[in-house]
């Protein structure tokens, strides 16, 4: 099992205070390697909170998160950063590309934390992915010169740059028009299949959710 969430509880506000609001309540989830799952649910149901926990961007109040059988909740912030860099890829609703960098540079950005410089293989891998998603011609352009769809595809390539085992997508098509959303959905599924990457997507979009292997509804802090 690639990912296991056991008995996860998470809320907002001071636990025990009247302002505390539980979002996730003793939630369990198991994701097998290569699996593609969608998490759907109404706004405010805690989808993004769940994804932040899975992505080691936040810590649960209770429960364990096991990645390849290892509990990552006890990791230090530095260990978590390395973990994210090595094993996870993120795609957000807004592409969050660095406006100061070109498309290619944005794609190469995840290599920097490793502090080793960029190898020929890594460069070739980046070029391969860029060509694959069809934005090779725009590789030297800045995000401000790209369309929304191109930006989001760049963000997907950036997420795959370190060959992660788990790709996390938070409303990846939420900011795109119907056509671009459809294209991105196909791209994510295709890349996941071809590269063998496990995909966890939080989405409102039925088109995306329907293409996943499993679909969970987050309701009352639990996945059903």
């Amino acid at each position: 099992m690639l990912l296991q969430l056991q008995n996860i509880t998470k809320g907002y506000g001071e636990p025990g205070s009247h302002s505390y609001r539980a979002v996730l309540n003793k939630l369990d989830l198991q994701v097998a390697s290569g699996e593609k799952i969608a998490i759907v649910g109404p706004s405010g149901s805690g989808k993004t909170t769940l994804l932040n926990l899975v992505g080691a961007l936040d810590q649960p109040e209770q429960g364990d998160i096991l990645f390849e059988g290892k509990d990552i909740t006890g990791y230090s912030t530095a260990e978590l950063a390395t973990f994210r860099n090595k094993h996870l890829g993120f795609v957000f609703q807004l592409h969050h590309l660095m406006p100061q960098l070109s498309l290619m540079e944005n794609v190469l950005l995840p290599l920097l934390p490793q502090g080793k410089g960029i190898s020929k293989e890594q460069k070739e891998w980046a070029e391969y992915l860029i060509r694959k998603v069809g934005i090779w011609e725009q590789r030297d352009q800045k995000p401000s010169q790209l369309s929304g769809g191109e930006c989001q595809r760049t963000a997907v390539v950036r997420a795959l740059m370190n060959k992660p085992k788990l790709l996390l997508a938070d409303e990846p098509t939420g900011a795109l028009d119907e056509e671009n959303a459809k294209e991105l959905t196909e791209l994510l599924v295709k890349l996941s299949n071809e590269e063998g990457v496990t995909l966890v997507a939080v989405t409102h979009a039925a088109a995306l959710a329907d293409r996943m292997d499993k679909k969970y509804l987050l309701k009352n802090g639990k996945l059903v």
Partner: protein, 1087 residues
């Protein structure tokens, strides 16, 4: 793609925002580096000033109130070829021009010869003719004269004999010289010549040393040797010692033909102990004292019995007489009609301080009557007393004591004509020493058998026994001392860093604020980097390195600004702020190391500020950053801040109420603390209000409350703006309110004036007691006043007017009782709990040191010491004099001096004559009459008098100028703060352009939106300024209610109004600009 590439691209992409941060850094760098440059420049200027005043002089050989041979200079050069020396006769005088219209007191009159060239690097001094003088530029300006003009110089009459020594006439206090100005010299040609460590240039008059000697009735005398050498002080001292001769001690040798003796006497009348002791070591020495007595009478005399008036009486050694025996010459015995066995009485004056005459008598039994021959009627025994020895008749005597001319009989005139000052009586040497030895010395001569006297042996004994220091001669490495005094002087770097404190704080806050605004804009970037697996420290290092590039750019820009800032400050220091520097030698000196240091410090400060911003930012959770949300403080902290708020609000109110209800004086420090605490309370209170606004639950919304609610949108920013304005207003007002007006309680005896009317200083010493009624009548002084007179040993000015670090300030000697209950004390030595420290000045201390008092500001700043510390001097006998500072007065008219009792003063400086400093007390109604009379009577003494309050104000002008600088730089800081506000405002409006566009889209008109925006920021401005204003008024309440300061609510109101007007202008302007239609359309489209 590398980390540095990323940083470079980020820097370029966010260039505009980064340049704003760089601007903040540039201001910090400007202030920091500028302050360091100012410090360096002042130090450099003081050093240059030392070089200007000393020329090539490296060492100074000096004596006080005595003189040595000019030839000593050439002898020293011959003794050691590595030494160059120039003799100088340095006196003080008064210069008058324009028929008395222009006058300069305390002028240095410098007698020089051609050897002065070696020191001055100018040949102009070598060609001075008898009637020519050279004057300094400042004197020419003061007297409004040019080369070729005539001026009158009244020079203090120098005397080889101490002025207050017994039987020395004190009538001739000055000598006049009318001379033509040959040249006016500037600083490059020794125009600033001075041997004192001060940046203030004295008035100088140079003339030929030969001419000055003649004016003083001297021959070849000097009192200073200016030495130029690369050798150390010991080498100079060695040469001085090698060249010291008996003539330099004022010793004269003559042969007494009648007695077959050789006599060594002194130009000083009485021999100082060391010289007397040395002469006593020579074989067959016969010391003698010859004293001028008022009368020789029969012990059983009654009114009408004959008495011999005004006679010389000498001593006999070798136990020829018992201590109660006397020998009379036949002339005297016949005159008195006495025979051996009769009792004889001598009447004489003992000369006390300030020529106080004490009538004394001594009784003897007549042992023998001796014949009137050359052995006994020996007129050579009379010491040389100008005014007495050279008088043609008895009636011409000017003996420095009252002479009753009616008592002088014809037979006395005849005696004078025939026998001059031949002694009429002899007493034993022991008895003579007992009754006539005085602080000026003992023997008047020592005689030796001429046949056996060995001149070579005399010189050798003198050389072996008498050191230069025994004659009060000092050898000082004056150049080294001058440089050290300059380098250790007032630290303008620290001073300006302190004075620029608020600009610095504003600049740092601005830097932090702008950097945080950038971070806020780029918060998503921080979050994404974290999501991509960048470690915290990696993200931090990326932003820090980018910050470093920004700070470096700002720092380098700041270095350029710092030079401009220094130039501006120096320009103002030379004009408006002249009071704190008092020199026209202010040169900007930029050391590369200072620039580097300034840059590094600026970078460290800026990067520190940036680092704190990043760390605080990173504490926020990555997920929050990515979503641009913010969570509040932890509960514990929040509660602690609430408690602190209530304490800060309640405690000061209680303290202020207690103080106001207390009948005594208001404690300024307590009020300042209360004000400061209240400011903290207000700021914490404002934070609390923002939090409440944020949590407010309401079912309705109104336009009027929308602005208030908006304040809580970004609590950090709102609070920063309020803090900036509150702190700025607080500092500016509290500083401005502390400017002192010292005229108000000047009559208070405990004030810095001591309750005295006038402080006066003379160039020539006043040799008598100004309170003596008879003397007053003699001088034509009729106004009713009392004077406290101070003796003075020259030293450096240690007041705040001197920027150099002083080691030996001038010493004043006073009768401590005269100051009882006067002035106040700021510090007492540990274990010293005296009610009135003045009265302890006479008491000796257990460790042998002499108690001394000085102004506390002098002790602390001028001398860099504290009470309990010691000052070291060399006294007249060459011994080390240790003055222990037992107390420090509150700021007073004594700034610059250290005060000891007359008793200790005269023990250490016995030949110091007269008073130079006076405190005048009298009725306030008669103040002007007293002042005018004293000015008139003592005009020729170079009498310089000013009301004590005015003198105090002059010292406080330094403090007030510092406050002005603080105020001006504080105002500059406020402007900077306003710029910060404007930037925040512009940035916030930019961030809110979509919101504004939306509001307009739903029907808000421009006027409503303008009011909304302007009100929001005006509330921050007013909250900040009001908090600062109210708390500053509380902090400085004692100043407002005191008549001692010129703090007024009017001035403060103007300052507040200016701050508000400036803020309002920025807010209104920027709000209006932001509401232009073009921008709104853009906002909507983007939305």
């Amino acid at each position: 793609m590398t980390k540095f590439g990323y940083i470079f691209k980020s820097f370029c992409y966010f260039l505009k925002a980064n340049l704003l941060v760089a601007f903040g850094v540039a201001i910090s760098a400007m202030v920091l580096t500028g302050s360091l440059i100012i410090g360096d420049s002042v130090r450099y200027s003081l050093e240059q000033s030392a070089f200007y005043r000393l020329g090539e002089t490296t060492h100074l050989v000096a004596v006080t109130e005595r003189y040595f041979r000019q030839e000593m200079a050439s002898e020293i050069e011959a003794d050691n070829p590595d030494i160059e020396a120039a003799p100088v006769l340095l006196l003080e005088g008064v210069a008058v021009a324009g028929g008395g219209q222009q006058r300069a007191n305390r002028v240095q009159v410098v007698g020089v010869d051609e050897s002065f060239e070696k020191i001055a690097r100018s040949e102009v001094f070598s060609t001075l003719q008898d009637n020519e003088i050279i004057i300094s530029k400042n004197l020419a300006e003061r007297l409004d004269v040019v080369a070729g003009d005539n001026i009158l110089v009244r020079i203090k009459k120098a005397s080889l004999i101490p002025l207050n020594a017994p039987f020395v006439s004190g009538d001739e206090i000055s000598v006049s010289l009318r001379a033509v100005i040959k040249k006016v010299v500037e600083r490059e040609e020794m125009g600033r010549f001075s041997l004192r460590n001060s940046q203030t240039a004295p008035y100088n008059i140079f003339l030929s040393i030969e001419r000055l000697n003649r004016l003083m009735e001297f021959e070849g005398k000097a009192n200073h040797l200016l030495v130029a050498t690369h050798l150390g002080t010991n080498a100079v001292l060695k040469s001085v010692k090698n060249c010291l001769t008996p003539a330099d001690a004022g010793l004269k040798i003559r042969t007494i033909e009648a007695t077959g003796e050789l006599e060594i006497s002194t130009e000083r009348v009485f021999m100082e102990p060391k010289v007397a002791e040395t002469l006593g070591k020579l074989p067959a020495a016969k010391p003698l004292i010859t004293y001028f007595v008022n009368g020789i009478v029969r012990a059983d005399s009654v009114a009408g019995t004959p008495q011999i008036p005004y006679s010389f009486v000498s001593s006999l050694g070798d136990k020829q007489l018992a201590d109660n025996e006397i020998i009379l010459t036949k002339w005297a015995a016949d005159d008195l009609g006495v025979s051996p066995g009769d009792s004889i009485k001598l009447k004489y004056f003992e000369i006390g301080p300030l020529r106080k005459l004490i009538n004394c008598e001594a009784g003897f039994i007549l042992k023998e009557i001796v014949p009137m021959n050359e052995i006994w009627a020996d007129s050579t025994r009379m010491p040389w007393l100008p005014g007495l020895s050279d008088a043609g008749h008895c009636r011409e005597w000017d003996a420095g004591v009252p002479i009753d001319l009616d008592a002088i009989r014809d037979k006395d005139e005849k005696y004078w004509n025939e026998w001059r000052g031949a002694p009429k009586a002899y007493v034993s040497l022991n008895r003579a020493l007992e009754i006539w030895k005085n602080r000026f010395g003992s023997y008047t001569a020592v005689r030796y058998p001429a046949a056996t006297f060995d001149m070579e042996n005399f010189r050798q004994v003198f050389s072996e026994n008498v050191l230069p220091s025994d004659l009060g001669m000092t050898v000082e490495p004056i150049r080294e001392q001058g440089v050290s005094a300059a380098r250790n002087g007032t630290d303008f770097s620290g001073l300006f860093l302190g004075l620029s404190f608020f600009i610095l704080v504003s600049a740092i806050i601005l830097t932090v604020l702008l950097f945080r605004l950038n971070l806020e804009t780029r918060s998503a970037e921080v979050g994404v980097l974290a999501a991509l697996g960048f470690k915290e420290r990696q993200v931090r290092s990326i932003f820090l390195l980018e910050g470093l590039v920004v700070a470096l750019a700002g720092g380098l820009l700041g270095l350029v600004f710092s030079v401009l800032y220094t130039s501006a400050v120096f320009r103002i220091l030379n004009t408006l702020w002249f009071d704190i520097v008092r020199t026209d030698v202010l040169l900007i000196k930029i050391f590369p190391t200072t620039l580097v240091a300034g840059l590094i410090i600026s970078l460290v400060v800026s990067l520190g500020a940036i680092y704190v911003s990043i760390v605080r930012y990173q504490r926020r959770k990555t997920a929050e950053l990515q979503k641009r949300t913010e969570s509040g403080l932890k509960k514990g902290w929040s509660r602690a801040l609430d408690v602190a708020m209530w304490i800060s609000l309640v405690v000061p109110l209680v303290l202020v109420l207690l103080q106001l209800l207390h009948p005594g004086a208001l404690d300024a420090m307590l009020f300042f603390l209360s004000g400061g605490l209240l400011l903290l309370g207000f700021l914490l209170g404002f934070r609390k209000i923002l939090l409440k606004l944020d949590r407010r639950k309401t079912d309705e919304i109104r336009l009027s409350t929308l602005s208030v609610l908006n304040l809580a949108r970004n609590k950090g920013r709102s609070l920063t703006v309020v803090i900036l304005f509150a702190l700025g207003t607080f500092l500016v007002i509290s500083t401005g309110s502390n400017k002192l007006d010292l005229f108000a309680n000047a009559q208070d005896k405990s004030s810095g004036t001591g309750g005295f009317l006038y402080f006066a200083e003379t160039t020539m010493p006043v040799l008598y007691n100004l309170n003596d009624r008879e003397k007053r009548a003699e001088e034509g002084i009729y106004e009713d006043f009392t004077a406290v007179q101070f003796r003075k040993v020259q030293g450096d000015d240690a007041s705040c007017l001197n920027l150099n670090r002083i080691a030996q300030p001038a010493i004043l000697g006073v009768d401590p009782q005269k100051l009882e209950g006067r002035f106040s004390f700021a510090a007492l030595m540990d274990g010293f709990n005296s009610a009135d420290p003045w009265l302890d000045l006479n008491a000796p201390l257990d460790d042998g040191a002499i108690p001394a008092i000085a102004d506390q500001t002098v002790i602390q700043w001028g001398l860099g010491k504290k009470v309990g510390d010691e000052l070291l001097y060399q006294n007249e006998q060459g011994d080390t004099l240790r003055l222990k500072l037992i107390a420090g007065t509150t700021p007073s008219v004594f700034q610059g001096y250290v005060i000891i009792s007359n008793k200790h003063f005269l023990e250490n400086y016995p030949t110091n004559s007269g008073s130079y400093i006076f405190l005048i007390d009298g009725s306030q109604e008669k103040e002007s009459q007293i002042g005018e009379e004293l000015q008139s009577v003592f005009r020729d003494y170079g009498w310089q008098m000013e009301p004590t309050a005015k003198r105090l104000v002059e010292f406080f002008s330094v403090t007030n100028t510092y406050l002005s600088i603080f105020l001006a730089l504080g105002a500059l800081g406020m402007i900077l703060g306003t710029i910060g506000l404007a930037i925040i405002l512009a940035r916030t409006i930019l961030e809110r352009r979509r919101e504004i566009a939306l509001m307009q889209a739903v029907g808000f008109n421009t006027g409503q939106l303008f009011r909304l925006l302007a009100t929001e920021y005006l509330m921050l401005l007013v909250a900040g300024v009001l908090s600062g204003f109210v708390t500053a008024v509380v902090a400085t309440l004692p100043s407002f209610v005191s008549s001692n300061t010129d703090a007024s609510l009017g001035t403060v109101a103007i300052i507040v109004a200016l701050i508000l007007a400036n803020g309002v202008a920025w807010i209104a302007g920027l709000s209006w600009l932001s509401l232009r239609k073009k921008k709104l359309a853009l906002g909507v489209r983007e939305e």
